[in-house]
Assembly symmetry: C2
Homo-oligomer: 325 residues x 2
């Protein structure tokens, strides 16, 4: 079994070999810029890892893996325009460094490039991989739409939030694993267990992200703590807090949600965090996270390969759960 570092290395080196230095530069340069920002390359690693569980040769899965990484970065590019996010991974985003039109058009051609990589899936698995990829891609757009819709609603339920993050984040992990499994020669049941593993680990992963935004260590987290609180982002934690708060607590939470005065940012983060503490929201979120994590572990158990062949994926899942950034 190849180690995750080795698989990530394959992806990094393949990504570096793509030539984005072509005409018209205004279209292709931003793509090289975005893909050069780095990132954990989790999705393509999952594809290669799933393939490797069933086959020693991961080469046939490399193009599909690259397609998923290019697609993921395309969604970040367009999401950053919609969210007016000016910085990603410490660098100015494309619409900030260039402009909105550049970010729109370069994103469009990135999505096409993603399909071009996916189209190089071995012919035997091409149609089914394309179908799953397209369904997944549409679901990610749906998730983004729900995320936007939720901003203007104050009655979002916990289940709606979980469905939103399933669409926006989890399905791409499931898709990455399933396509890799297919290419490795997995049977349909194993491929589906890995898909479900991806969904559950994706949900746990996003809950961890929400947790880190409040309870993370700023130095290792890489962004400012409390960003979601300041943005009134309807995370699982805020939704549960709104469910559980009563009387004075409910009043105070609502009061702080309605305060957007930048001079009171620190106070707002502190106040909401201590309400979270009082309502034991950290524990509630961690419980939910562990609920999905253990479902993922059970999915992996059901896959009919040796324990040894599951070890890397198990390690990756553990790392995602116990990470600090």
């Amino acid at each position: 079994m190849k180690k995750i570092n080795e698989l990530q290395q394959i992806i990094t080196s393949e990504l570096e070999q793509i030539n984005w230095n072509k005409e018209p530069h205004g279209l292709y340069e931003p793509i090289g810029y975005v893909l050069g920002m780095g990132g954990k390359r989790i999705r393509p690693a999952l594809t290669l890892m799933a393939c490797n569980m069933f086959s020693d040769d991961v080469q046939p899965a490399v193009n599909s893996a690259l397609g998923l990484e290019v697609f993921h970065n395309f969604t970040l590019l367009h999401d950053d325009i919609m969210d007016r996010a000016d910085v990603r991974r410490g660098k100015p985003t494309v619409h900030k460094k260039w402009d909105d039109n550049t970010a729109i058009l370069s994103g469009d051609v990135m999505q096409i490039a993603a399909y071009q990589f996916i189209t190089r899936t071995p012919e035997k698995y091409l149609k089914q991989s394309l179908d799953l990829f397209s369904i997944t891609a549409a679901e990610i757009c749906e998730g983004q739409q729900y995320d936007v819709d939720f901003e203007n609603r104050d009655d979002v339920k916990a289940d709606e939030y979980l469905e939103m993050i399933r669409l926006k984040t989890a399905v791409l992990l499931g898709c990455a694993l399933k396509i890799g499994a297919w290419i490795g020669g997995a049977g349909e049941e194993d491929a589906q267990e890995l898909y479900n593993f991806g969904i559950n680990i994706g949900l746990a992963f996003q809950l961890k992200d929400d947790l880190l935004d409040v309870y993370g260590d700023e130095a290792t987290f890489g962004k400012k703590i409390g960003g979601d609180i300041l943005a009134n982002k309807k995370t699982y934690m805020l939704i549960r807090a709104l469910d559980l708060a009563e009387g004075k607590d409910a009043e105070e939470l609502t009061k702080w949600i309605n305060i957007s005065d930048k001079n009171r940012s620190e106070d707002k983060i502190k106040a909401v965090t201590s309400l979270f503490n009082k309502l034991e929201i950290k524990q509630i979120c961690e419980d939910k996270m562990l609920f999905f994590y253990s479902k993922a572990v059970a999915n992996l158990q059901n896959v009919s390969v040796s324990e040894n062949n599951k070890q890397e994926l198990r390690n990756l899942a553990e790392n995602l759960m116990y990470r600090n950034d």
Copy 2:
């Protein structure tokens, strides 16, 4: 041979059957809106027509045809954001009726929907159709990028303009014909002749558009005459006029290009048009248009099917050339 009206009817009725009334509405409703605006459905008609030249059964080409129409409308949606165009076919554009974010995200999912239709190409032709479609889609983005780049340049050459409209407009016509021909069972040489026919007719088509913008009849053209002149759009006509104008004429043309006072719009259109007249730009543009048109006719001549089977495509080409709107 099926008449073009019959083919357009197939497309219209298939498009009407697609259900865009699904959740989340914010994402899918604009797609139904855009596709409901109408349009000539030329691209999908070309696919069915090319298929019909080689096969009585056009049904296997319907999904590919729909994919190309959905893709074309997606490009209009995103182009309208970039061009800040508020009206299309007499109706508010998506970013105007909703907002920019909606137009970006609905466009993204439209591009995915286009790929979903193309993925339903009969399996025998799937890989090659996807490859051609993706190359074409990327070329269209390149064309749009050049179009944007040209706005900020005052040294655009006629050949650069022709290359830009080849990418932005003509390649999709070529692609539509070639995929249809393949599905109909055409040999590679015939498919390529039809591709080239599409390129040449596309170039002629765009030059006709440029001509109509200046010399069209407002009532039948459907938009205001002189829009390109007011926008200083570097059309073939303006580029050639800048090439040919000397002395006082050159000075006057440059003077008017630098006038953007809205109160002088009518004067600007009149003055530039009479400079065009003096320089015989209409004739020059018509000659170029006929040059590509006759190349297209020659391409069609080379296709190894009966004259009868070519008649509908010949009629369509003629209609595009001698249209007034």
